[in-house]
Symmetry: C2
Subunit: 218 residues, 2 copies
DNA sequence: GTTATGTTTTTTGAATTCAAAATTAAAAAA
DNA sequence: TTTTTTAATTTTGAATTCAAAAAACATAAC
């Protein structure tokens, strides 16, 4: 018998709000008028507030005491900071995954990138980006770490920081992704960690350059 | 003119509760009766609930929907998991700190362990433990990373997991602490990270052994 | 004596209410 | 016209209230 699922309001509100922020319905810097949003969602402020607090931990919203909640506007420094953290955390995830990954999961990971290996010169960026994101989330899942799960947020932040635009092109990252999968498949945790770190570090370095350029041009 | 400080209730309740948990006033596994605690603290359930939610993110309490909040009882697997995360996160903190640390901060860090260098064979464990904890917290602070700050929790968890008992004796760790400080002082981020990771990894390995022993004896 | 059933009490999740603070708008003074 | 002051409105933070669910208790059946 399957137990009846508890769909608590807070979680649903949380999901809805997250979607609204990630899809740009609420823009960075914008004030979140609690009364208004609560009314729109047809709920009271109590569950809304709880959801907002969760999102605050995930760096998606920011609370200024006695002022209100705002959709977080990430600074260049913060985005870079997040990449530094991703570097070590996803590196760890890759290492732990190498110890635990199942044959089935290996097949699934490979499956993510199979479509792009056929015709490397003609890759649909949007589809690749989706696979890329799935890849990183899957590794976090496979690592099956309580702490790392707490940090799935780091994936979300990516979305706002770089909406639908990859930091580096598939021509660079595709082989890196494959190499990470192979290392995990060979149960080589040290190598998987190293490759994963390198992978993200390269993106970070490119990102820093780009952000510096932007600043330099102003 | 100094602006009036906003001491919002939630934060104070949060601090109080954290103290209650860390000092053992509330024991792991114990149910948190909201009404009762709120009355004891002389507040309503609203700010209490917010504080509890914050603590949930820090792994100090656990929420079971429609059941209530409980003081979290960490499993051996979770404690080990936390050490894995500390390994990479504090390693990163050491690396970033090496880039940013001021002369003054170096002096402060050295000062933490000075008292123990005089008479290495006669170290007060309790005092050393305090210095140890300060050391790790300071590095997180110096690294000045938004993401890492979110993870100060990892320090807290340590407290409950290993109340006042060091995983390894000062005779082993003192020199490691000094070496990390020296690496940061020399602005050698790579080395600082490596040393810090090794430092925590050694503790993790010892910890795993001890936990396995405990299980084996049952 | 143990297990099952029904009832009461407690506790949670959520809405509502209320006071204090912040924001906005309006009026008065420079 | 611009700035300052005052008043009105909005919004937050926190308490209270209320319904639904869970836990505890008591009673009845086996």
């Amino acid at each position: 018998m399957t137990p009846i699922e508890h769909i608590d309001l807070t979680k649903r509100v949380y999901e809805e709000l997250k979607k609204m922020i990630l899809e740009g319905e609420l823009n960075p810097g914008q004030k979140i008028l609690q009364e208004k949003i609560a009314e729109q969602l047809g709920i009271s402020r109590t569950p809304l507030l709880k959801a907002l607090q969760m999102l605050e931990y995930e760096l998606l919203v920011e609370s200024i005491p006695r002022r209100g909640m705002y959709v977080k506007k990430l600074s260049a420094a913060e985005i870079i900071d997040i990449f530094y953290a991703r570097e070590v955390l996803e590196g760890l995830a890759a290492r732990l995954s190498a110890q635990k990954i199942s044959e089935n999961q290996i097949v699934q990971l490979r499956g993510l990138f199979d479509p792009f290996l056929q015709d490397k010169d003609n890759i649909n960026f949007e589809a690749y980006e989706k696979a890329d994101r799935r890849f990183h989330i899957m590794i976090l899942k496979i690592s099956d770490s309580t702490v790392l799960k707490r940090l799935e947020m780091i994936g979300n932040v990516l979305l706002i920081a770089y909406q639908a635009s990859l930091v580096r092109p598939p021509s660079e990252t595709l082989s890196e992704h494959i190499a990470i999968i192979e290392a995990m498949s060979a149960r080589n945790g040290d190598l998987a960690e190293k490759l994963c770190r390198d992978h993200i570090r390269k993106s970070r370095i490119k990102l820093i350059k780009e952000l510096e350029m932007q600043v330099g041009h102003r």
